[in-house]
Symmetry: D2
Subunit: 237 residues, 4 copies
């Protein structure tokens, strides 16, 4: 209804793309650069990018207070995220900020803190995936075909130790014989969370139009109707 743009902040660890030439070739601007490029094609979205090596790990209260949806990609240095960063993100989600955790970010300290489980899974390098939509009525699934082929993807397999999701939107099939709940939603406080498994750094998964469409849909879905300044609080009469 409003004409204000959705304020998306992309947080990228940005380690692999700088350290490993083969990955830099896939994402020369970093994974965040690729995400920014396609999200910016949606005129209702404005994008800010931050990375782990910035002051305060790229995360400040002021930034999050001005973020409608935070996208998070992390892998090699999940353990370096400080308690303070975790708390800032957690508070922001509780206050209504949307959160999209991509691929290995399932194992971020942020996701563990918000979901309360170990977030462990079964994994193996070098597989291919077929991503099936099992909840076609969901806003995140709009315009997505019944099945999306991902020619090269790391295998993530069950058991995925997550709480019962609000919705399971996508289930991944892997050529090696595994399945995975690849797109799942949760609510924590006023904030909506979407976890999306595709996006291993060794293949240009985020360049696939259907994957871009899913992430763009998720941004619109996760955006809060009303962004609060603070998490819910106790009220005494």
């Amino acid at each position: 209804m409003s004409t204000r743009k959705l304020r998306v902040t992309i947080w990228n660890e940005y380690v692999h793309e700088r350290e490993i030439p083969a990955i830099r070739e896939i994402y020369p601007e970093g994974i965040h650069g690729c995400l920014r490029r396609f999200l910016s094609q949606d005129e209702s979205i404005s994008v800010t990018c931050v990375t782990l090596d910035m002051p305060h790990q790229g995360i400040t209260r002021e930034l999050l207070n001005n973020t409608d949806v935070l996208i998070w990609w992390s892998h090699a240095r999940q353990d370096d995220i400080t308690d303070e960063t975790v708390q800032l993100v957690k508070d922001a989600v509780h206050s209504g900020m949307g959160l999209i955790a991509l691929h290995s970010a399932h194992y971020s300290r942020i996701m563990q803190a918000l979901l309360g489980t170990t977030m462990t899974l079964h994994w193996r390098h070098g597989d291919r995936e077929k991503l099936w939509c099992v909840c076609p009525a969901h806003p995140i699934a709009q315009g997505i075909p019944a099945c999306v082929d991902i020619p090269e993807e790391e295998m993530y397999g069950e058991v995925f130790d997550i709480p019962r999701p609000d919705d399971v939107i996508f289930i991944g099939w892997f050529a090696g014989g595994e399945v995975f709940r690849s797109g799942v939603t949760f609510t924590r406080g006023m904030g909506k969370i979407f976890y999306f498994q595709p996006g291993h750094e060794e293949a240009p998964v985020y360049e696939q139009p259907e994957i871009q469409k899913i992430i763009t849909n998720a941004v619109h879905w996760a955006a809060p109707a009303c962004r609060q300044d603070a998490p819910p609080q106790n009220i005494a009469d």
Copy 2:
């Protein structure tokens, strides 16, 4: 706590096993005979079998009033089930009777009436399945390995048009590239429902020990703590 046995009634359409020699060879006593055999090995369970060709399609109010868990296998003649039979089973589930619908019984008029969706899916003959457990804390999953191989099984694939399940316990992987929510639970009134996809009649799937264990677990899970005589009713002060 009680020493009374769980009263299981197995309803089998019993058409394929009589009409098609290759299937009769797999299940010479009928599918119900196979189910009865392994369930009867559990001393806490007593089994009654009924089939479509019996008077009243094998279903009477008296039988259901004395049934804790009804197992249902149907395929070729789903449309022949009368409104009266559907209503009797629906009333019994609402009153607390457990219901286990196997394989093609997803498309029975009974399941459609209880769940309220079309129960449609994607299917193809001649595939193999790997059945993954995604909810290992569930009573139905106790003692079941992380993955069960089913060497020959009809492919059932998503989108499976069901309401959001209470729990998704098993997800099936098919060699042809599909996935399926193969073991799902629902509650309707006082009754618990388990739908379990494996069991195409052209292969001896119900002879696999893990499949037998899952169905036996499901009987214990679906059994009502307290079997009522009638469905819930309106109460006016």
Copy 3:
């Protein structure tokens, strides 16, 4: 994103308002007239009204194919709704049409067919309600205060025999000592369903601004992203 208006069809039984002078005084244009009045203030919504006494009970396939969200109010003549009408509405919901069932419409044959339970409850005339929001992040709750006072309302109390809802958005408190899950959502096929308890015909509940806001929010939430022509179907490879 589109500029096409949301096409809302209001179906009202329209019996009490014509037969009982005290109710006619509250809703001189019928309950549907009141609903139409406030929904029409939203410029993105266009409204059509139909009533039970019209040909085909007011419901045709053509009408439903051109309806994004159907609002249903019924009470005295729930049993008169034909199988054909039930099937048309059910098919439309499965195809993506949103459905908002108001007050005593919980016990409509349509809701029973879509949800698969008895939909029974506990009730008593002459009470007052406080409606609490328990899911403030939900789109239907946007702009609604934590608690809405309804000075005069029929008591609906638990146990409300419904399947586990997708979300419980509102819980009603009644002065006589009861509670009720007063605003609950479900999904069936491609269609979203919202049941909302307030709206007994003997008090002008639908004239309360907060109640109007909730119903307007629900229309926007239940509107399909993509209205299909037919319910989901089986697909054979």
Copy 4:
């Protein structure tokens, strides 16, 4: 099936009962003493009690490895619980230990860590409650009347900032006008969690037979089918 007893550990903060004479009079043996007394009447349960003032805050890995269900009551000194204690309990729940959090323990660091929300609510001293069962098919509700009167209870009101529960079993009605999701279940890893609101220390709520029955049912429900030694872990092929 096994004849081994369920091993219940009751953890009580045990501050109010020692510091405030009026509360000591209600629970002369401590709240844990009351819980132990009625749970011990169930011959299938064995009880161990620990309190905050014990070494290691009463919690060791060895104790939890030998606990099937942990009951937790805390209030005045929630903030004193160490990170180490939180982690031990969290690991045990993930490994399959059941957890029953009573009354103000909703706000324990343990529940916040497992559920990932603020766990905030609305509260007021000096009210009375009617506890309605809204999920009569659930094992925790067996043998419990439709409504339990609690003559004196602290008001806990919505919004209760919890994730969407697996099941809402009880909803509380308070004379002052509030409602509360008073009995809710969650799963985290292999462990089942039941939060139960009644039990303010200034009234003998845990002496009510229905409340005792609910907690005893919850112990049986939360007990793991198979207690693992460690939380779920990542598996690499």
